[in-house]
């Protein structure tokens, strides 16, 4: 539910300069939304990577199997390219409130009339017991470079350890299995991956699906560190056990990419996220934030999830609307999806708020599990395995239309 409040800041004048820091999903869609809403002024997008905006979900799935290419993941439409100045490889080091803009490592100052921070998140890593060993590091799966490195590694005959129990880790485990790894061990940090967030029936189902494909699960203890040498990796768990592997993949969470904002004028959460109201305003005039680097008020309160693709997309649209004085689309019920083997999981609604998890139909074995989440007896969320029609219908039936929010 959107928290109420008055629109925080005046929108841009038509020829004002919009500066977007971050060339990911939120950055791209903020720019695109501003243009669609009629913004005429210059839009500049500073990206840390040396490539144009791309879509990340496939990095642990179709890109990793080789089914799709880098070009396939481009967010911008080559037939209708966004009218914006793209600056790849920009190393932004500080935000300035007055005058408004950002400084880069190369000594440039990018002045702007509005700044949108959309720098995303980086991979959370584990302490390395031998951090000086540059030869063999665990793989990460945040950027295309990360995924390209793993994709270039032949897994035939190798043992793979995947640290993490979320969808990124499980997708990586599925992909490595499909790519011929000799063994894949998931260190999920819980007995049934996802059970804490999605309920035990879902955690059990996910585990059984992966086990049916030969994936093994380490003990329920959390991974605490990793030792890497040219001979391989050893992941150490909190219960004293260890998992040895030829290839290690860290997919155990994300941290906001906001190191450059530390000590600056913005309020950051303890985890480093840029704190915003539910319009994406940071409290500093002309500075907004969206996507995985940000934590909006309803996210801080636990009412909305953090780190979802859909969340970044919708936040970008809200910020773009406020920047341009357009009527914002209301935020919808949270939504996520995941592809693992021949299963497509989709979840929607206030799953974190549920006090009851009910299996409506189907099973993991038959690949058609349908789960209802309830709070106080009222359905607040849904999750399906290969239940595209049901999940879409639920989302549309719970869609908040513009007129409703005006009336609210």
């Amino acid at each position: 539910m959107m928290t109420s409040g008055s629109a925080p800041q005046l929108s841009l004048d038509p020829d004002d300069r919009l500066l977007i820091i971050g060339a990911g999903l939120a950055g791209y869609h903020t720019a695109r939304g501003a243009r669609l809403n009629g913004h005429q002024g210059q839009i500049t997008i500073l990206g840390a990577e040396h490539r144009l905006a791309y879509d990340r979900p496939a990095l642990s799935k179709a890109y990793l199997t080789g089914a799709v290419s880098e070009d396939d993941l481009a967010l911008d439409d080559p037939d209708q390219p966004l009218d914006a100045q793209w600056v790849p490889g920009a190393d932004v080091i500080a935000l300035s409130a007055v005058p408004l803009g950002v400084h880069t490592l190369t000594g440039e100052f990018w002045a702007a009339d509005a700044v949108v921070i959309a720098t995303g998140a980086g991979a959370r890593t584990l302490p390395q017991t031998n951090p000086d060993d540059e030869v063999a590091r665990p793989y990460l799966l945040r950027s295309m470079d990360d995924a390209a490195a793993l994709r270039a590694t032949c897994l035939q005959g190798l043992g793979v350890a995947v640290v993490g129990g979320g969808f990124l880790a499980l997708e990586a485990a599925a992909t490595c299995t499909q790519r011929g790894a000799e063994s894949v061990t998931v260190i999920a940090g819980e007995q049934h991956p996802g059970a804490t967030r999605l309920g035990t029936p879902v955690g059990r189902a996910l585990r059984s699906v992966h086990e049916a494909h030969g994936v093994r699960f380490a003990s329920a203890a959390r991974a605490v560190s990793v030792t890497s040498t040219t001979a391989g990796h050893t992941v150490h768990l909190a219960d004293g056990s260890a998992v040895a592997a030829d290839v290690a993949i860290l997919a155990c969470g994300a941290v906001p990419a906001t190191g450059w904002l530390q000590g600056g004028p913005l309020h950051l959460s303890p985890a480093g996220a840029v704190l915003c109201d539910d319009f994406g305003a940071t409290g500093i005039a002309g500075v907004w934030a969206a996507g995985d680097c940000a934590e909006w008020a309803s996210q801080s309160k636990g009412l909305r999830p953090v780190g979802h693709w859909q969340e970044a997309l919708e936040q970008a649209a809200v910020v773009a609307a406020h920047l341009t004085g357009a009527e914002p689309q209301p935020m919808q019920e949270p939504y996520f999806w995941s592809d693992q083997y021949d299963l497509r999981l989709q979840g929607a609604g206030r799953i974190a708020a549920a006090d009851e998890v009910r299996v409506l139909e189907g099973s993991a074995e038959t690949g058609d599990l349908l789960i209802s989440y309830l709070r106080g007896g009222t359905e607040v969320g849904i999750l399906g395995f290969n239940r595209l029609r049901e999940v879409k219908r639920w989302r549309k039936q719970h869609q908040i239309r513009k007129a409703q929010t005006v009336a609210a």
């Binding site: 869609h29 695109r32 879509d55 179709a62 089914a67 799709v68 290419s69 396939d72 967010l75 439409d77 037939d79 999806w337 497509r344 989709q346 595209l388 029609r389 999940v391 879409k392 219908r393 549309k396």
Partner: protein
């Protein structure tokens, strides 16, 4: 030449039906108004069956994301899909649905090929 793909009784108002006998698969839609339309079944963005999508205002919304396709033309409205899908001429004769398949090249998502 028209192809009989299903009976009108096989269709549910407001829903799509995937027809696997055609390659790539097609989706036949019956709107709440009783109109029958036919599109390629696979979203042009990612491998998802449009027959499982949401039908409203002569458009179908992909079940995976928020791109919608016009039932009569296949035209897409918004990302993440960028390309329209093929529309096929559909007509109902004596309760049977006939489809005239488009001769255009199918627009399949990256990584998906005609089997």
């Amino acid at each position: 030449m028209s192809l009989r793909v299903c009976s009108i009784d096989d269709l549910t108002p407001g829903e799509g039906l995937r027809i696997d006998a055609v390659s790539p698969p097609i989706a036949v839609f019956l709107t709440e108004d009783g109109e029958v339309y036919c599109l390629d079944d696979t979203c042009s963005h990612q491998d998802a069956s449009l027959a499982s999508g949401w039908v409203e205002d002569c458009r179908v919304e992909c079940p995976l994301h928020e791109s919608t396709f016009h039932l009569a033309t296949g035209q897409v409205d918004q990302p993440p899909a960028k390309r329209s899908v093929r529309a096929h001429q559909a007509q109902v004769l004596d309760g049977e649905v006939y489809v005239e398949l488009s001769t255009a090249e199918p627009v399949l998502p990256p990584g998906v090929r005609v089997p």
